[in-house]
Structure formats: structure tokens, C-alpha cells
């Protein structure tokens, strides 16, 4: 007699989905719609620049407009690459970065935005980021 193998139910894999959004794409999207679709699908978003405080404020405003029973909001954090090393060499590079930032409008660093139902908290050290998952 042959025993039928019991089908084991596949456990959902633990993991996190990451989406990369170029800063240039974000800048063109006045309402930041490019962020909220992936956020509502539980993606962690990485932007290849440290976004400006005014942009952060606008994102918080738009987050509040998008909050509902399923989408509770975001965790957001940024690392500023210019402040990581305060040596003179970096200071000179920092000056050129500041000039290019004024011209191009882009600050060196990264910004991470994650949905609050996936990310419990983002704890910041000056040059490191700890992401606490739920």
C-alpha cells in the first residue's frame, strides 16, 4: 500500500520587497503618486538622494491624505553622505557638492520610505540606519 504524501502548506516566505525610485522621477511627480502605489503594496522604497526637508513635508502631507484602514502611514529616514566624514578633503568635496546641489538640486545620500505596517521604526545613527521590522 502506498501512502499518499500529505501536501504541506507552503509557509509564506519572510522577506521584504524593495523598490528603487530615482530622485529625478520623484522630482517630476508633484503629488508623489509614484511612492504610494508601491508603499500600499508593502514595498520599501529607496531613493538615490537625500530629499529636501520641504519634499519630506510634502510627502508627509500626501501620506496623511492616503491613510485609510489598510494603509497606516510610513516610516521615513535619510542618510546624508556629506556629513559622514568631516575631514578637510571631504570638506572640499562637500563644497563642490553644495555647489552642484544648488545647480542640480540633488543632495548626496539616500532616503528610505517604508509602509508602517511593515516597518516598525527606523532608528538613526549619524552614518547608519537600523530598520526594525514588524
Amino acid at each position: 500500500m502506498v501512502r499518499k504524501k500529505e501536501k504541506k502548506e507552503k509557509k509564506p516566505e519572510k522577506g521584504i520587497k524593495i523598490k528603487y525610485i530615482p530622485y529625478e522621477v520623484l522630482k517630476k511627480d508633484k503629488d508623489f503618486e509614484c511612492l504610494f502605489e508601491p508603499l500600499k503594496e508593502s514595498y520599501l522604497i529607496i531613493i538615490d538622494a537625500k530629499i529636501k526637508p520641504e519634499e519630506e513635508a510634502k510627502i508627509i502631507e500626501k501620506t496623511m491624505e492616503n491613510i485609510n484602514l489598510k494603509f497606516k502611514g510610513i516610516e521615513i529616514s535619510a542618510i546624508d553622505f556629506e556629513n559622514v566624514d568631516a575631514s578637510l578633503q571631504q570638506g572640499i568635496k562637500g563644497l563642490f557638492s553644495k555647489i552642484s546641489e544648488k545647480v542640480v538640486g540633488r543632495k548626496k545620500g539616500i532616503t528610505l520610505i517604508g509602509p508602517a505596517d511593515v516597518i516598525k521604526a527606523m532608528e538613526k545613527d549619524p552614518d547608519a540606519l537600523f530598520i526594525h521590522l514588524r
Partner: protein
Amino acid sequence: MPIKRIFSFFKRLFRKKKNVKLGLYGPPNSGKTTLANRICLDWLGEELGEVSHIPHETREVKVKEKVVIEGKGKKRIEFSIVDTPGIATKIDYEDFLKHGLSEEEAKKRAKEATKGVIEAIKWIDNVDAVLVVLDATKNPINQVNITILGNLEARKIPFLIVANKIDLKKADVERVKEAFPNYKVVGISAKHGINMDELYEKILEML
């Protein structure tokens, strides 16, 4: 929008001092309304708003006009105090259930809180100076605080960091000062009126 910001800057620069608007900004539950009430009680004899241990008690901007404070050197200034909802990046109605609210009340509060955050952010362009009120018992380095300070700097709005709740054992004003070494920090207890004289002197210097 840069043109709007330039206009706001000049509007603040040339506005007569008696029309000064002092905003209270910070994360939820940091004691902004308690501080607003303390200032209004000290100088007007009446409170501004209700306080609660439940976050997002203040869900709309509240303004009290004609607050006059006087310093040791007989310097005096009249201003309007603007109490704003706490700025947050997430609001979950289930958090309010833990504080004993019904589901209907919790959902209503959450919806009002989201509108309050939007209103608080929009009001940044209408204030002349800000007290950034932080809870001195908590880690001051978080993105909400950095966003608030960054927006004030970008708009060239003068501000003072107020490390509140120094009456509590876990309060650590030095941690707040170390987190923001380039800014003025004053430690107070708005609830118990501790160190308010120093705060008033710093407000007079700022305005």
C-alpha cells in the same frame, strides 16, 4: 514654491512686531498644548486648549492672540501663540483603542488627526518664529524632528528647541543638546512650570 517662500520671508521681515505669530511644533504628545496653556495662564490668566495622555488630542490649529510677555530688562513683546497638532508620519486608529476609545471614536480621531497634521504643515508658512517642543524622555533623533527643523531652516524661520518634561526621571536635556549642537535648547517642565523664566527670556531674544 520658491516665490511663495521669498514672499513669506519678506512678509515676516517687515511685519510689525505686534503681529508676531509664535508657533509650537513637534511630535505628538511632546507637551505643546501643555506649554501653550502654561504661557497663556502665566500671561493671560486662561488656558488655550485641552490636554490628554492620548496622542493627537490637538487635531486642529488653535491661535490665542495678544499674549504679552515681559522680561527682566523690562523688554516686552506681544504675539499670538499658535498651537499645532503633532506632526507624525503614521496614524493607526487601533492605537487609540488601547486608550479606551470605541472603534467609532478611534476611527474618527484618526481621520481628524490626519487632517490636523496637514494643517500643521501648511501653517509653517504663516508663523514668524517657532518653539520646537520635544519630549526630553525620548530619543530626539528621529525623522519627524529633523524634518521640522529642516523646514524651519529652509524657510529661515527662527526657532528654539524646548526639551519638555524635565520633571520626569528619564528626561535627558543633555541628550537633546548633543543631538542638535548648532541650536539653542532650553529644558523645561510645562506641566509644573519649571524653568519657564529662562524660556521667556529666550523667547524675547528670539522675537
